[in-house]
């Protein structure tokens, strides 16, 4: 067995109400590591042969919660959630911060495979090797905060009853869904700690489709033994030393972005991306710090960065709203993208999506889409159940968000996410509404635009990413560079927070991997032989897609139309993405990734990597192209 792994996964069949342990194969772990990579491998092995027919919200989908060998060791604990995505119909490695991954590893598991569907709402309680599927009817329908309160009480009481001499039991770590996940909203998240979420992918809906309200885990063992603990400690110290010098992230997190990404780099969504510039000083980080942050440093396990803050609205009509910072993504998407430029309005909106278990990015994206249609007279007050969806009105946006979570009225349509809503509504209106949908492969684009060229994403970041609009997994060339999607595959497969790898020398994470697992790993090996396999499998499953929609590289490896409209305001007014340059870069990317001119992984590429079955599955797509 490789060091640093617990060595087994927990498999839970909710239809049968049974659980078992699944051992991990060393060779698979060497190639796919954990988290996102292992998710792609497991999903491909189990569902690949019938991928196009698997409805992500049917019991046959598989929901995965996977750690990696570095979880708990590398500063900043996370867990990777995956499965067939109800947004892209491919596979997203969607990670969420917190202690869940650490607790799971301390309980003796590297991850959880959930199959089937329960008859009635359940939650999973894991205490080391004791696993129970428990009734969750008292939790169903409850929001994030209620769910955590009730579950914390129930689990601690149970533990106390069972182990009365232990002393005070701490809360188990929990992942849960809110009402949005229960109602199969495609933009629902798997959440933790009130305000943390595995957002991209829509796995909250998958969890809801399985009637799985929550998972609680208490692991009382140590982390799986590392090969060279002294070296691990040294590397942790090296990381912390660098991080401690970074005042920006430690003090403000990404909270300075809500003002600066717009004002300085013109790459922030403003009113559904009609603009990417604003200079609203009311939205400055000083305002957040002074008016709403009640806790300046909030961290997940082992994290020196503490980019999170706790925010509470103290005055006005949104008094009592609680959330984290919000971080830049939610600042932008539930702020300027909706024409909201006050910390109070923004915190309120973030607390609404947290409580309902919705993704702040995807929800901000679809709300912005709807508000632009209202602005243009395409959607009227009548159609919006009487709501006047004016830019900047946080109360009305909050009301529409609730409709989405409960699939009420127009919310039922918007609960499908921006892409699917645009198609459905377009059909009804006999209009092409996709120009107003700022998304890629069914996933709303993260809050970093490409038009000004001043923020980090490359012009093909979203167009060819195997995770669509996901701003945490952007594609770039060279394939072995820092801006490559293969770099993100390392973070998401070793499973830790990539914020703690900013400013760290590039070779450190490979040394860290070796110190934990005992296995040497060169960068060349990672990029050329290992991460590339995950990328190819993700690409294969993305292109196979189905059943409700499929992506064609020719028409879908593109940027949203809005990114070709010139920026209308700000210092970069007139700038836009150059379509010819994008097309050329997409071609270059295909070549570098070993894909044919139609964007399909080549037979030779896949065979060289030992992915013969993926090659066979893609034959029919190649035939369609020729």
């Amino acid at each position: 067995m490789i060091k640093g792994y617990a060595g087994k996964l927990l498999e839970v069949n909710l239809s049968a109400g049974k659980t078992k342990d699944v051992e991990l194969d060393d060779e698979v772990l060497k190639d796919y590591m954990g988290g996102r990579g292992l998710a792609a491998k497991i999903l491909w092995d189990r569902l690949g042969h019938k991928w196009e027919k698997v409805n992500p919200l049917d019991p046959e989908n598989i929901l995965l919660f996977l750690t990696g060998p570095l979880t708990g060791y590398f500063p900043g604990g996370r867990i990777c959630v995956s499965g067939k995505s109800p947004q892209s119909n491919g596979v997203i490695g969607s990670t969420v911060g917190g202690e869940f991954g650490v607790e799971l590893r301390c309980a003796g598991y590297d991850g959880i495979i959930v199959t089937g569907k329960a008859d009635k709402p359940v939650y999973l309680l894991i205490k080391d090797s004791d696993v129970e599927i428990r009734d969750a009817s008292n939790l169903w329908g409850k929001d994030a905060k209620q769910t955590m309160t009730l579950l914390t009480r129930e689990c601690r009481e149970l533990l106390k009853k069972r182990y009365p001499l232990f002393g005070e039991w701490r809360e188990p770590a929990m992942l849960y869904i809110g009402p949005a996940g229960e109602n199969l909203v495609r933009t629902a998240v798997v959440a933790a700690k009130w305000a943390h979420a595995a957002g991209y992918g829509g796995y909250g809906a998958v969890m809801g489709s399985k009637k799985l309200k929550a998972i609680a885990v208490k692991g009382t063992g140590p982390l799986p033994e590392a090969a060279n603990l002294k070296k691990v400690e040294k590397l942790i110290d090296e990381i912390c030393k660098v991080i401690y010098e970074g005042e920006l992230w430690r003090r403000w997190g990404t909270g300075a972005g809500g003002y600066e990404v717009g004002a300085k780099t013109s790459s922030e969504p403003v009113r559904n991306w009609q603009e990417e510039w604003h200079d609203e000083k009311s939205f400055g980080v000083d305002k957040f710090e002074d008016r709403v942050w009640v806790k300046q440093c909030w961290s997940d396990f082992g994290c020196p960065t503490n980019c999170l803050k706790v925010a509470v609205v103290k005055t006005g009509k949104f008094k009592g709203a609680i959330t984290d910072n919000p971080d830049y993504e939610l600042q932008a998407y539930l702020g300027p993208n909706l024409g909201i430029f006050t910390p109070e309005g923004n915190v309120y909106m973030a607390s609404v999506v947290d409580d309902l278990g919705l993704c702040g990015i995807q929800t901000g994206n679809v709300l912005g889409f709807a508000a632009e249609l209202y602005q243009r007279g395409i959607l009227t007050k009548d159609y919006l159940d009487g709501l006047e969806l004016k830019w900047g009105d946080a109360e009305v946006f909050g009301a529409l968000t609730r409709k989405i979570a409960y699939r009420e009225g127009v919310g039922d349509l918007l609960a499908e996410g921006t892409y699917r809503a645009a198609l459905k509504l377009g059909k009804m209106k006999k209009m092409d509404l996709l120009p107003y949908a700022v998304q890629s492969k069914g996933i709303g684009i993260g809050a970093h635009g490409i038009r000004s060229g001043k923020d980090y994403p490359d012009v093909i970041s979203y167009a060819v990413s195997v995770q669509g609009g996901d701003h945490t997994s952007t594609a770039g060339l060279p394939l072995n560079g820092g801006g490559s999607e293969l770099t993100e595959i390392f973070n998401d497969s070793a499973v830790y927070c990539n914020f703690n790898s900013f400013g760290i020398r590039r070779t450190l994470k490979f040394e860290f991997y070796k110190a934990v697992t005992g296995l040497p790993m060169t960068m060349k090996e990672w990029f050329g032989k290992r991460a590339i396999k995950t990328l190819q499998l993700q690409r294969a499953m993305l292109l196979l897609g189905g059943p409700d929609t499929k992506w064609k590289p020719k028409t879908d490896d593109v940027n949203p139309p809005r990114f070709y409209e010139p920026l209308p305001s700000g210092p970069y007014k007139g700038k836009t993405a150059d379509e010819a340059a994008v097309k050329k870069k997409v071609k270059d990317y295909y070549k570098a990734a070993g894909w044919d001119k139609n964007g399909i992984p080549k037979s030779t590429t896949l065979k060289k990597l030992g992915l013969q079955d993926a090659d066979e599955a893609l034959q029919k797509l190649r035939a369609l192209q020729s």
Binding site: G72, Y73, E99, V102, E103, C106, K145, M148, T149, T152, R156, P164, L165, F166, G167, E168, R170, E171, K193, W194, A195, G219, T220, G221, P222, L223, E225, L229, E233, C240, Y244, R250, V294, K295, C297, W298, S299, D300, F301, G302, C303, P304, N306, V310, V312, K314, G320, I322
Partner: protein
Amino acid sequence: MKKKKEPIWIAREFTKCSGCRKCEIACSLSHEKSIWPEASRVRIFMLVPGAEFPHLCAQCEDYPCVKACPVNALSTSEYTGAVLVDSKACTACGKCITACPGRIPHMHPTEKRVLICDLCDGNPQCVKVCREGGWNVFKTVTRRNRAYELYARKPEEVTRDLCAKFYGEKGEEFV
């Protein structure tokens, strides 16, 4: 001649706690030679998100835990003021936990003995990492005549107070 050290105390400011658990990592690395959160003598409770705080021995003046031990497995260090556990003598009966006003001691997850902060023989590792990171929840101070038992409180009590402070009127309902 080596100067005799004064007993120490770990002063604590709960509202600054980020919940990063670096104290648990340092404690378990130091005492157990592994990262082992449940075997850490200092444990971060997060009964409510945002209201994290470290739960660790407060070294009450009258040491009720020491008095309660039926097998004399607990003693106090003259040198640091810490409660010391004689691991071999301890029977894991739990009487010290009941005697503690904050129910702070807890059992070692795999061995039959109780875990209580030993102040790392005068150089607490939790304090070191917390200060290195600038959170400064902890500070090592010399032990003087103070009401240390005020800090020996049950997790729910501390959480309620922190929730009231951070979240206002309805904060305590989250506990």
